[in-house]
């Protein structure tokens, strides 16, 4: 049984790698069929990515700026979505109160929010961070509120019988029961925040990966455009696979 589980676990990495290889092959074939201006060959794109990553100016002026914005947006999204989700999960009235805002943020197209926030916050950090945070927060809010609302009432009765303090109930029962869904939400919110941050930077920032994309598009430098997209994907992937997924697996492993 153990060897089977080990094989299954390792097998997921093998097939994941095969999936990436398949994507590169498909990309290569498509790039052969189209002009390099539309789809550059993977080799050119990887070379452009390497050039960018070996350029200290890109790291300081753009890559680090985007990372900082994404990190701050994620933090703000977790803080706002987590706090409201926690309260809304425990108090249904608060959920009803916050629900219209959540509904607006999840149904209005992202580009509309970008334009509106550009008008409110101008160009730069505040605009990018607030847009990305407001796209991530509703995901965390909904998942956390739902998870808290679905905590087994039998366990809550047990906690009442044994006189668990409010802190114990929150930490030992609610938080642990909601940890799995919370980290799942974090994975989705993290990906969204990366996407929306880049979009916001494309539309209204003078620094960051999105700004570089905007320049590359204007200069018709397609390999650099693809390389920047690849770097953005790698950032989102690294955060997901090396931080959020292990945390999620760890919490789900402890939860039934």
């Amino acid at each position: 049984m153990k060897w089977f589980l080990r094989f299954r676990f390792r097998g997921t990495y093998v097939f994941g790698g095969l999936g990436i290889l398949g994507l590169f092959l498909a990309w290569h074939h498509v790039s052969c069929a189209f002009s390099g201006l539309v789809v550059p060959v993977p080799r050119e794109t990887l070379a452009a990515a390497a050039r960018l990553l070996f350029d200290a100016g890109f790291w300081i002026d753009h890559f680090w700026v985007s990372l900082r914005r994404m990190g701050l947006a994620l933090g703000a999204g977790i803080l706002a979505g987590g706090t409201l989700g926690l309260v809304a999960g425990l108090v249904p009235q608060v959920r009803a109160l916050v629900e219209p805002v959540r509904w607006i943020l999840t149904t209005v197209p992202g580009v509309v929010i970008v334009i509106v926030f550009m008008l409110w916050f101008g160009m730069g950090d505040a605009m990018v961070i607030s847009i990305a945070a407001s796209m991530g927060a509703p995901i965390i809010f909904v998942n956390l509120a739902d998870a808290l609302g679905r905590v087994d009432h039998h366990l809550l009765e047990m906690a009442r019988v044994y006189r668990f303090s409010l802190k114990m109930r929150l930490v030992k029962v609610y938080a642990m029961a909601a940890a799995g869904p919370f980290f799942s939400a974090l994975v989705i919110a993290g990906g969204n925040i990366v996407r929306v941050s880049v979009l916001a930077e494309v539309m209204g920032a003078d620094k960051g990966i999105g700004h570089c994309m905007c320049l590359a598009r204007t200069q018709l430098d397609t390999p650099v455009l693809y390389a920047l997209a690849l770097i953005s994907m790698c950032v989102a992937g690294a955060v997901e696979f090396f931080i959020f997924r292990p945390l999620e697996r760890r919490m789900k492993g402890r939860c039934p």
């Binding site: 039998h154 366990l155 009765e157 047990m158 009442r160 019988v161 044994y162 006189r163 668990f164 303090s165 114990m168 030992k172 029962v173 642990m176 029961a177 940890a179 402890r254 939860c255 039934p256």
Partner: protein, 210 residues
Amino acid sequence: MTEKAAVAFENVSMAFGRHILFENLSLDIAPGQVVGIQGPSGAGKSTLLKMAAGLIRPGKGRVLVHANPLGYVFQEPRLLGWYTALKNISLALEATGMPGDIAKQTALRFLKDLDLAEFEAHYPRELSGGMNQRISIARALSVSPELLLLDEPFTGLDPALKDRVREQVRAMVATTKACVIHVTHSKQELLPGTHALFTLDKGRLYPDTL
């Protein structure tokens, strides 16, 4: 309520819609008394225990409890799936204000008493239903309850184990002098040394022979 009663149900009435569960039900249980309650399925036995635990309020009348702390063995184990067997018990002890290290030692002692010491680090999902129920029993007994509520606690245990656990619970109850309300559907499952048995039927309690 008599002066000595640890738990008193005073003219308790309760109905779910048109279904009358209890009608002017009264019962006094003295400290240290072990009372068995049997009755058909759906008669309201578990609801009676929940009222004693303060989880449900009666529609009319009142339930007075002069016993603290409370131990409750539910029909199902109700363990926190994300904590080990030991932690599930020690948490109940910590909730009484016991320091963490002493709570762990006490929890381990109760696990030993119920032959579960070697499973202290196991999570509920790694244990059988019967083992989890024994952890639930250990948790209820570990808080040294003045009132112990048992809701068909031996369901899911195999017959040989059932007798052993019943005897262990009886011994522990005798030591702690806890007042016990034991709900069961079978007279054979009553704790040895039960003082009184009642049958709950159609909203009323009838004294029964042991």
